[in-house]
């Protein structure tokens, strides 16, 4: 356990020391700001208040920013260790590979959560703007389920990014690979879910589309099938990363 904590601390330190983290933060927060302005303008134009959490969590700006942002966080994780040769130094101590992979995964998820912190400010602003006659706005339940959705989707994206990073010693390749996989599946499944002619494809798309899932999460729908899917897929990518790191050494 202490080894894990030590590795996690190092990951977080490395993450928050790297300039790329702040570049990512700057752009993502700027996009979040744009998203919030768009949300306000929609509400001002007469959109229903109940839609506000959906606009906040599953607006197109954030949905399509994530496939860019997450690989930028994760590209460094294993690719850099391989490039510097520090992976060899790590794996010749008592560190176990699953500990190492988990520490990197958790570190990246923590940073991802830090990226979402401004949401708290936006919720506060919404509450202040809301007329006193309306109770419980924005709806607490859908806020929490939206946040949970962001966490589930984000964790899966991070796991994909970590996996891609473990395959190469080149950060650019890791980033582009992660982006291709996440963006490709996001767009592909969204097309299947909403545009496909065949009903079978449509249903499959709806099962797999993060876009559709985020719509549900931010409406306050917590579907256990979807949650299980996210958890198992995340676990699978972590497991695959462990296997890659164990086998790909030379």
């Amino acid at each position: 356990m202490s080894v894990f904590v030590c590795l996690l601390k190092k990951e977080l330190r490395a993450c928050f020391y790297s300039p790329i983290a702040y570049v990512v933060m700057f752009f993502f927060w700027a996009l979040m700001g744009v998203n919030f302005i768009w949300l306000l303008s929609q509400l001002a134009a007469g959109e229903s208040l109940t839609l506000s959490t959906q606009l906040m969590f599953s607006g197109p700006i954030l949905t399509f920013a994530m496939p860019f942002v997450v690989p930028l966080i994760t590209m460094r994780l294993f690719a850099e260790e391989r490039k510097l040769g520090t992976l060899e130094a790590l794996l010749t101590t008592s560190v176990r590979v699953p500990e190492l992979v988990l520490s990197k995964f958790v570190g990246a998820v923590v940073f991802y959560c830090a990226l979402l912190l401004p949401t708290i400010i936006y919720v506060y602003i919404l509450k202040q703007l809301c007329p006193a006659t309306i109770n419980d706005f924005p709806d607490g339940g859908s806020l929490w389920s939206g946040a949970a959705g962001m966490l589930f989707v984000g964790a899966l994206y991070v796991a994909v990014g970590v996996f891609m990073s473990s395959l190469t010693s080149n950060q650019i390749i890791a980033a582009i690979g992660g982006f291709a996989l996440i963006f490709g599946s996001l767009v592909g499944t969204a097309f299947m879910a909403y545009m496909a002619q065949s009903p079978g494809l449509r249903i499959m798309g709806q099962y797999y589309s993060s876009f559709a899932h985020m719509m549900d999460f931010s409406r306050g729908v917590l579907d256990s099938r979807i949650i299980v899917m996210y958890l198992t897929h995340t676990a699978w990518f972590i497991f695959a990363t462990v296997k890659i790191v164990e086998s790909k050494r030379a």
Partner: protein
């Protein structure tokens, strides 16, 4: 301390280490020599449990690397080839991180880190960022890291590569000091390094151990015949003829020096035949200003061993 028996490692395209066996006793300093690509790094990576082998067994301090890798790793201090470090960390920070990974108890950590910093001459640079240190200092940080958990065995993969001569000397001195307390296996392709530090030499070539002995014994093996050099004032052809006429002697090389003297390189059955050469010079009335046995350098030995065995295989 180390017992390697019948270890083979195959990479997809080639056989990196071929049925290698050797032993290193407790307290020994062994130099692991070989041309680039001979399999030194691969062998060391298997020793430290980083790479799995295809066949054979490795025991370190009585533990089998295949089944008790963690036991082995906690007893081995390893400095990989390129001395990998995190450039964004400070020296103290890095050593603390490594010490906790290696299971140094938190109560003993600070004292241990201070001890290795002092040993490696890093006391002054504890607060500096590793990326801003010179190569020599970085190498020392790597060494300090390999020492921080007080390992029985130190495995150092080319510890002086890329350093300037002054830094090389410093690192060498450090390693010699460390030898008092640790068993050391040191790989290098710099021969002076082995001559300066090691008690015993292992030579590996094309994945096979081709020699394992002390430096003196290796020389002796090669000195089936002696090479004698002589400088005389004489006619080249006469001298060559007369010398070759002596029993057990053969002129390998002859050249007239710029100042008119004649230099001969003679292959003789033994070095004691110098007396006969002297007598010949006296009898012929050749003035003589040099008569010596050529010393084999480790470099000659190395080149000869790796070439001979390479040609045979």
């Amino acid at each position: 301390m180390i017992k390697v028996s019948g270890v083979t490692k195959k990479y997809p395209a080639r056989l990196a280490v071929d049925n290698v066996s050797f032993e290193v006793g407790r307290g020994e300093i062994v130099g692991f020599l070989g041309p680039n690509g001979a399999g030194k790094t691969t062998t060391m990576r298997m020793l430290t449990g980083y790479l799995p082998m295809n066949s054979g067994t490795i025991e370190v301090a009585g533990f089998d690397i295949a089944t008790q890798a963690r036991e082995v790793r906690s007893r081995v201090g390893y400095l990989p080839e390129s001395c990998p470090l995190y450039p964004e960390m400070r020296v103290d920070e890095y050593l603390k991180f490594r010490a906790s990974l290696k299971g140094v108890k938190s109560s003993a950590r600070r004292a241990k880190i201070n001890e290795v910093k002092e040993q490696c001459g890093l006391t002054e640079v504890g607060k500096r960022i590793i990326g801003q240190l010179s190569k020599g200092y970085r190498q020392r940080v790597g060494l300090a890291d390999s020492l921080v958990h007080d390992p029985d065995l130190l495995v150092l993969d080319e510890p002086t590569v890329g350093l300037d001569p002054y830094q090389i000397r410093q690192v060498r001195e450090l390693i010699t000091q460390l030898a008092e307390r640790h068993t050391i296996l040191l790989s290098t392709h710099i021969l002076q390094e082995v001559e300066a530090i090691c008690e015993r030499i292992l030579i590996i070539n094309e994945g096979k151990i081709v020699a394992s002995d002390t430096e003196e014994n290796l020389h002796r093996q090669l000195q089936a015949c002696s090479i004698i050099e002589i400088e005389i004032m004489a006619d080249k052809e006469t001298a060559t003829r007369e010398v070759s006429a002596l029993e057990g002697m053969d002129v390998r090389n002859a050249s007239e020096l710029a100042d008119g003297w004649l230099w001969l390189e003679i292959e003789a059955d033994s070095a004691s035949m110098r007396v006969e050469l002297f007598n010949l010079a006296v009898a012929e009335g050749w003035p003589l200003r040099e008569l010596s046995e050529q010393q084999h350098s480790l470099e000659d030995t190395f080149v000869q061993i790796t070439r001979d065995k390479g040609a045979k295989s």
